[in-house]
Amino acid sequence: MAKTFNRREALIFGIGGVGVFALTANGANAQDQTELTFWTVRLNTPELQAALLPILAQFEAEHPGIKMVNEPVSGSLVYPKFLTAVRGQLMPDIAEAYSYHPLQFAAIDQMAEMDDIIADWDADGRLADIVNEFAYRKFFWHDHYWGVPYNLDPRAIFYRRDILDAKGIKPPTNWDEFRDAAIACHDPDNGVFGLVFPAGNFHIAQHFYMGFMFQAGGSILDKDGNLVFGTTAREANIQALVYLTDFHTKHHVTPEGIGSYNTDDAHTIFAQGRAAFGMATGRLLGQIKKENPDLVERTGILETLQGPKAKLTAGFYNPMFVWKYSPNVEAAKTFVRWFIQPGRLEPVYDAVPGQHWPIFKSEFNTPRVQQDRLLGEMLQKVIPYTTDFAYPGTGVPEMGVIDGEKLFAAPVNEVVVGTKTPEQAVDDAHKAMAEVFAS
């Protein structure tokens, strides 16, 4: 005879069933599999996700005891997401994100030290294979490494080979040649600007100033991490600011509205074939291929300019980091070690050409690069000269706020729209940066 349940018994069984399901579904399953949460901020688009997931599946196949749970995080919501996670102590075991994050999270005691991974890389030669020592030195703060670099986001100057050829101008290699070439190529009657760059009050727009700053011998910090933007580096930083903004205010070779441009606006103008030179992120390369393929053959990437003091450009080495309070720190580091290896991310680089770049020199000569002139030009002419915000020293958490608050975008924006002189703009930006250090 079938037993019937009354309402109370049914409720108890129901709650019990849900409880059993919850216990078995939270990672503590019967196979004792370690579950690692992995937040991806830079690898968050559908194309990049499609390239990433097979890599994660390969890791799981090689490490049967570890299951990866990937969550893409919107770049524009990165701080709200991480800050909420810190407050709720629900940080991911591993994350890849923007340059400044590991030190900022280290400053509030959330990051696991990564010294052992750096030591391993030093021993096996991987550290020497990294393009630039600042790629990892910028994650060194208070005697420890808090993140490790895994890919690169460079800033470069694209140019129109056909326009320069028609004018009989060789690709410029220094400040004087570049200025003269931009002026010579400016042809408003035919809808071509000499130069386009973003000068808006936006986060990424400021990174182009950084490159010129380094070329002039300036910087934001000194080698000990002290703020020198408006003190010992003031003259060089003003020189760079004047050089950059003169293209708009004095030479008048840029679009009228660059004071409101973010990177996308500058990319669009160049991809439409309406600028002889364009300052851009690597993403422009993929945009030209997709939106205006006829322009690919007519486009080149300039050798990093030799400035008055140095031949450097800005590039952002994106980090991976591990949460200090993860119950699986060692497993998380196992994944980081496995993930950051020459050749491992080729599918990612292939998915969105130009958006992400390798950090190992041994990845410069792959078949993918050999078959693509522009990739080769970027890797040979730009990537070796990329350096990061910490130059010429190691990183400090305050730089994340200085970058986030767009404190070195402000001088470019203010001079371009005519509200301040370069000297005032640099001095005011220094004051604002000093407030961040004093906060």
Binding site: Y79, P80, L83, V86, Q104, A107, I108, D109, A199, G200, N201, F202, H203, P255, E256, G257, I258, G259, S260, Y261, N262, D265, T268, I269, R274, P397, E398, G400, V401, G404, E405, K406, A410, N413, E414, V416, V417, G418, T419, K420, V436, S439
Partner: protein, 296 residues
Amino acid sequence: MSNRRAFFAYYLILPSLVLIVLLNLYPLIEGIIVSMQNQNMMRANQTAFVGFKHYDRALFQSIDFWGSLGRTVVWTAGSVAGAYLVGLSLALLLNMQIRGRGFFRALFLIPWVVPEVVTALLWKWCYSDEFGIINFLLARVGLLEKPIPWLSNPDIAMPAVIVVQVWKLYPVMTIVLLAALQNVPNELHEAASIDGAGVWQRLRYVTLPLIRSASVIITMLGAIWTFQNFDIVYLLTGGGPADATQILPTLVYEKAFWALEIGYASALGVLILICLMVMSVLYLLVYRSQAQAEPA
């Protein structure tokens, strides 16, 4: 019996009350507490009590707050005044016996239903110096020789973003004012006409006094909505150029999520709340006086 009915009513509203407390009151109290803590996400001692330090910084030490408050007032007043004028004009037109009145009513509502993010992106394209339709059309009819940098000129950027908010806000003004206009007895217009009043005199001495209550209420509500609006300015200009459109909500966002100064941002948020409470009290007072002034 009546007590039991009252208890039953409380019982019914309990779920909503719990939700309101959880979703509104708790964050509000938490925000006030955080505004008195260090809560700098770059520093270790986050929960350290700092009293009114952040308020002191906002009100007496930094120029951020007062500058942004001034711009917020301009942004709010410009948007509400513009939207009211457009809304009133359209309401007067739609109140006339014209063909396709229903169609136009629906048409004019479109900006109201477009999400703010879409609105901002749409207008960003319209304002673009190189590929925007406004400059294109002005150049086409010969009014422009070179593009106007709508969003990169500090003198033009604020009026430009106000126009967008006017576009977003006028439909609700139109609807409310149209409803009020339809309650104005036609006999009054006829009597005024017989007495020799012209169109403007009828508008000034008959129509406007009779829709004053609706006008006050909708402009006060519009001011409250606009004062705390974040999306349009942030997406169009990011607060630039050179801080020309940095209003209080964008300042709070920047301080909280880029500067990581959650404590200071919370203090700014509380100050915004105080401004909004003042506006709300004014609104309630005006609403009450209007209600009392209404003929029975």
